[in-house]
């Protein structure tokens, strides 16, 4: 009965495992019992769906949330949200958060001795349009050290949060920048077994949408789980 409504399962190696000992925090937090398979019932094919009502007019522009402009390299981050059947995900709430251009989060537990920027909070929201497209304006975040080992550094990244169309499509992830040498040694990025899947998290320089004399653009497309079977084409 539930089969026609189910969402596709991810393929092997596409998602990180819970236990990835190279990322030390997983050791005491990854469940040790196998997950119990859950059929997709009404509880999983419904889910929180939010759109424009959650987004203020400047929430998509992290460079205009204070009186002055933040320091750093202004960038545009844009792309398309679709499902694994290639259909756009329209009118969907996206949330992002990130470190500033010095690699510091405006957060009480971030002790990295890099400067805070009074003109940068680091949190944003936007809604995809009818074609699933989105666009943020922000500052390129910097790398920062973390406690995973004595010389561990996170590659520059932006956190993304999406609800999609159902409880089963909820996704929180991170976007990385092309050519970052820290990617090769990052325990979090390299937790994704399949190299092709891993590199879906690396955005692409997009000269077409770059605004001359103002900001480089980076394109980051996001693919959420699609339906197993679609009863109607349309």
């Amino acid at each position: 009965m539930d089969r026609p409504n189910s969402y596709k399962r991810d393929e092997a190696g596409e998602q990180p495992p819970y236990l990835h000992p190279e990322y030390r925090s997983t050791v005491l937090r990854a469940p040790k019992q196998p997950l119990v398979p859950l059929p997709h019932t009404l509880s999983e094919i419904t889910g929180p769906v939010y759109g424009h009502e959650k987004v203020g007019p400047l929430d998509h522009d992290l460079t205009r949330q204070h009186d002055g402009e933040p320091l750093g390299e202004r960038i545009i981050v844009l792309g398309r949200v679709m499902d694994s059947n290639g259909r756009p995900v329209p009118d969907a709430l996206m949330e992002i958060w990130q470190a500033n251009s010095a690699g510091r989060y405006r957060h009480e537990v971030d002790n990295h001795p890099a400067p805070l920027d009074p003109n940068f909070s680091g949190g944003g929201r936007c809604v995809t349009d009818a074609g699933g497209r989105y666009r943020f304006v922000t500052i390129k975040p910097a790398a920062y050290p973390w406690g995973n080992d004595p010389n561990a550094w996170r590659p520059a990244h932006i956190h993304f949060s999406l609800f999609g169309t159902a409880f089963a499509t909820r996704l929180i992830t991170q976007m990385y920048f092309p050519g970052d040498p820290l990617l090769a040694c990052d325990a979090i990025f390299n937790s994704i077994p399949d190299a092709g899947a891993r590199h879906r998290l690396v955005c692409r320089l997009d000269l077409e949408h770059t605004e001359p004399e103002w900001a480089l653009a980076y394109e980051f497309d996001i693919v959420l789980r699609g339906r197993d079977a679609t009863p109607m084409e349309g």
């Binding site: 937090r29 019932t41 929180p48 694994s84």
Partner: protein
């Protein structure tokens, strides 16, 4: 056969999610003085028994009548104005959270089955490369729980009980249910592959 586009992998929410734009309403799905309000209070513990004090929990549930506020729930069951069924909370320094909501009604399961009242719950945290998904059922719904198609698949009694929120004996108003989430250990919570 259409081409399948590979899905975007999950990554950890990390420790710095408090700089997200705050979620209006948090985990108060109804006002605390709502006549049907209940509290679900709990904590999240890691494999060393230490509180997980930097996690985000999200919940999703049907309303008191068992209707989801979502376009795909098209049944002739009433919606409740203002009840969205979603909440988000950040665990405190002791790994604790407090959800204020109403007990959901029953919803259909696969085939002709009926699912007992339950709340879907996701845990996001540093050290979790992907969210963990569990369900909150209610210990005082024994008859419905015995018929629930998901609970029936969990045959070890100790495991099944990890999904039950237990009414607190004090009997105050609004009622309080306790729900502990253990990521590992002898009382490891049942987590689902959704």
């Amino acid at each position: 056969m259409a081409t399948r586009h590979g899905t975007t992998p999950s990554q950890t929410i990390g420790p710095f999610h408090r700089i997200m734009v705050p979620w209006e309403g948090g985990a108060e799905l109804v006002a605390p003085d709502h006549p049907a309000a209940i509290h679900i209070q709990g904590c999240i513990l890691d494999g060393a028994g230490q509180p997980v004090d930097d996690s985000v929990i999200e919940i999703w549930q049907a309303n008191v009548h068992g209707r989801y506020a979502h376009a795909e729930d098209t049944r002739e069951v009433p919606l409740v104005e203002g009840f969205e069924g979603f909440g988000r909370a950040i665990t405190d320094g002791d790994g604790r959270f407090d959800i204020v909501t109403v007990k959901p009604g029953c919803v259909p399961g696969p085939g002709e089955t009926v699912q007992a009242p339950h709340i879907a719950l996701s845990v996001f945290a540093r050290g979790l490369l992907k969210q963990l998904v569990t369900r909150i059922y209610f210990a005082d719904e024994a008859a419905a729980n015995d018929q629930d198609p998901v609970l029936r698949t969990i045959t070890e009694p100790g495991r099944r009980d990890t999904l039950l929120a237990v009414p607190r004996a004090s009997g105050g108003a609004p009622p309080v249910y306790d729900f502990e989430i253990c990521l590992q250990g002898p009382r490891e919570t049942v987590f689902f592959d959704v």
